[in-house]
Amino acid sequence: MLAAFADPVFDSQRNFRELLQAMARPMQPRELPLLPPSPAPIAPAAMAVLLTLCDTTTAVWLQQPNEEAAQHLRFHTGTRLVEKPAEADFALISEPASMPPLEAFAHGDMRYPDRSASLIVQVAGFRTDAGARFTGPGIRDSAQLSIDGLPQRFWQQRAAMAALLPLGIDVYFVSANHVAALPRTTRTLES
Amino acid sequence: MYVAVKGGEQAIARSLELLAEARRGDTAVPELELAQIRQQLRLGVARVMQEGSLYDEELAALAIRQAAGDMLEAIFLLRAYRTTLPRFGYTEALDTTAMRVRRRVSGTFKDVPGGQVLGPTYDYTQRLLEFGPTIPATVVEAEEPLAASMPRVLDLLDAEALIERIDAGSDPEPIDLTREPLMFPADRATRMQNLARGDEGFLLGMAYSTQRGYAESHPFAGEIRMGEVDVLVCPEELGFAIEIGSITLTECQMINQFHGGNGLPPQFTRGYGLSMGESERKAMSMALVDRSLRCDELGETSYAPAQNQEFVLSHSDSVEASGFVQHLKLPHYVDFQAELSLLRTLSAQHARTANTPIAEPVVKEHAVATEQAFDQRLSVEAQS
């Protein structure tokens, strides 16, 4: 079996601080400082997020589950793997082209909008000099980001879900050693 | 020239020295040993374990000594230590029917199978201060041992179907209130966890209020029992339960009148209290408050403080209450300054307009209107 973080206490702490800043400053990619080994199809950056945030009290849904990945996650985090996207606290999307619709995941209830899924989506790459412009909390003026390998319907489904705010789904996109977050409050600017 | 006060660090260091000196007192007097506290102040130890949510007599004794006998401080010390302990697992549900009883009384039947057993109690001591040295106790052995089996008194009523049935397996898995926040409405298992950790004085007052007409539920002490109960855990790798020790518990089952409602027939209902060590006052108070908090489930009118779960559960915890009441001694001069300047403004204005009438306050009426609108919206939500 592969190892996890070399130093669980400090590696989680350093990755968490980047995730926190990523969520606080949406669509602005940040570097994850410590990437653990990971079994396919889980990318090391996605594994870093899972190791940092998941334990026996969380439910994780894998889009492409396999025995090795499941065993690795259970062993290192003790997390519960679930069959249905709607039951997941965290969902790992390893093939965005065939991901389930966003409506399939928990988006909270009106009194507790935090009871919603966080998606970790493995994408092909980020470009900060192209793509759509975004605005919202955490973004000074606007941020530009192009995400490679994300189907267009993701944006359509997300736009539809905006009507439900403050309900919604929060997303971490990971590519190589970078993470960019897309909380529910971020708005796409008309180009 | 004014110089801002500095030296908080040194002040704290000196204060700690003074505290250590005051706590120890005259060093010519021997320091209390933990065994003395465990043995001779066992009821204090029980309370600290119960409200500290940690069954460990040695640590409770240590906390009492460190807190110089301030029970709430000792409970706080134990709780703060408990937070850091790793969680290995959860025990099986305790079986109090199998308790090795040392005390057992019922207020509802003159005699019950297994008998009434007074055991060690302050109830009949006449409360005369005993001047002079404590005389070593001599205990006369009973001619017959206590009955090996002591059925619970309420199970006898259950056979006659006069008391509500509660299926032991029907409860959902309880949440762990020390790991998850309290949410409202709280189910009975959650409420009981809160009451079990709740301050004995607070629960006593709440329970007392139910006897004085604030949510009267005509209680009878069906059974109070105290003794040792085995603790079992079922490790996943073994697949069967093993005993890891035994603990002293006090259990109280109240029987309460109920005229029927919410689709239920007239019958006796139950209030339940359970507490670590010998702690009858706590267990009885808990049972009364448990019952009064069941008002919604039983379709009873809720009007009294002891029936209001947000009121009871949000204010029962002595560590929370003590911290927040006493935080008022922390500096608040920034906010006080803000209030001072506001008051000066208002006061100057009052002097200018002393003879002109002040507009009527409107908030009360609006609050009522808002509440009505709110209820309507909720019912719309519920229907949709």
Binding site: S12, F16, R17, L19, L20, M23, A24, R25, T52, C54, T57, M110, R111, P113, D114, S118, P137, G138, P166, D170, P183, R184, T185 | Y2, A4, V5, G7, G8, A11, I12, F76, T84, T178, R179, E180, P181, M183, E310, V319, E320, G323, H327, L330, P331, Y333, V334, D335, Q337, A338, E339, S341, L342, L346, P361, V362, V363, H366, A367, T370, F374
Partner: protein, 279 residues
């Protein structure tokens, strides 16, 4: 550093629980996320929420500043700083500009914060509606409906009765146009610093078991009316020590005759200004 406790006192499961809650808090600005608040070795009401947030953040590279009433040397601030240098061994500072994490009670530093800093507030009562509606089940619903009429009427009633809004601290704000939020008991003087702050701001209420956040560059409005705009405290005096006319001032009684003087509440800001003054 005390070896028998984990780094920063809390166990890793607790930190993960806090971190998950903090991320949701940032994702839903101003919304109060319930969390499994732990019993800390400091009393409830003395900063247990802020301490748990700080413990979930801190790493060995951090530099921590703790203030109470704007001052680094008040006893509770000293005690919390002492706690973290004992259980986490982190570097501490009194300089706002040197800190990576600042835990505060009742003030926001006068020195502008930067993007690489995080401000952690200690919060006694996270629910801005609580004094108007004590029941949690009901205030949750009011937030769900974004129905803040109760608060508007309370402020309106103040104006009708006193000619002013009679709230001078813990002045309610609307975050990102959605959630009514308590800024914690900071004087309303500090409210404008919440709006579009470069630094992330996290709020911890330990006793009430709630966390919330105001992300950087987020719109934060103090409630007001068109004919009664929001105003902050002003003094005719300036600081007697550094001469500042822009900072929040504490009033100090200096003799038996009740003579007053005014000094900066932010001791670091005041000290820096004094150090720069020509002697």
């Amino acid at each position: 550093m005390t070896p028998s406790y984990n780094f920063a006192f809390l166990d890793e499961n607790t930190k993960r629980m806090l971190r998950r809650a903090l991320l949701k808090a940032v994702a839903i600005p101003g919304y109060q996320v319930p969390f499994g608040s732990r019993e800390m070795p400091l009393p409830y009401g003395w900063g247990t929420g802020g301490i748990q947030v700080t413990a979930a953040l801190l790493g060995p590279d951090d530099v921590l500043k703790v203030i109470d009433q704007g001052a680094d040397d008040t006893t509770n601030a000293v005690n919390i700083r002492r706690f973290f240098s004992r259980v986490a061994g982190v570097a501490t500072t009194e300089r706002t500009s040197e800190a990576s994490v600042i835990q505060t009670r009742h003030r926001i530093p006068e020195t502008s914060l930067r993007e690489d800093q995080i401000l952690v507030f200690q919060v006694p009562e996270p629910e801005p509606l609580r004094t108007l509606e004590p029941r949690e089940a009901e205030t949750r619903t009011l937030h769900a409906l974004a129905d803040y009429g109760l608060m508007h009427v309370k402020l309106y009633e103040d104006i009708a009765q006193y000619g002013h809004i009679a709230t001078s601290y813990d002045y309610p704000v609307l975050v990102d146009g959605r959630f009514l939020t308590s800024p914690s008991p900071i004087p309303k003087f500090d409210n404008p610093k919440l709006d579009h702050s470069p630094a992330l701001m996290l709020f911890g209420a330990g006793r009430e078991k709630r966390l919330y956040a105001i992300p950087p560059y987020t719109k934060v409005e103090s409630l007001a009316f068109d004919d009664h705009p929001f105003e902050i405290q002003q003094w005719e005096e300036t600081c007697a020590l550094c001469g500042s006319g822009k900072s929040y001032l504490d009033e100090v009684v200096v003799d038996d005759q009740g003579t007053r003087m005014f000094v900066c509440s932010d001791t670091d800001y005041c000290g820096q200004r004094q150090a720069e003054m020509p002697s």
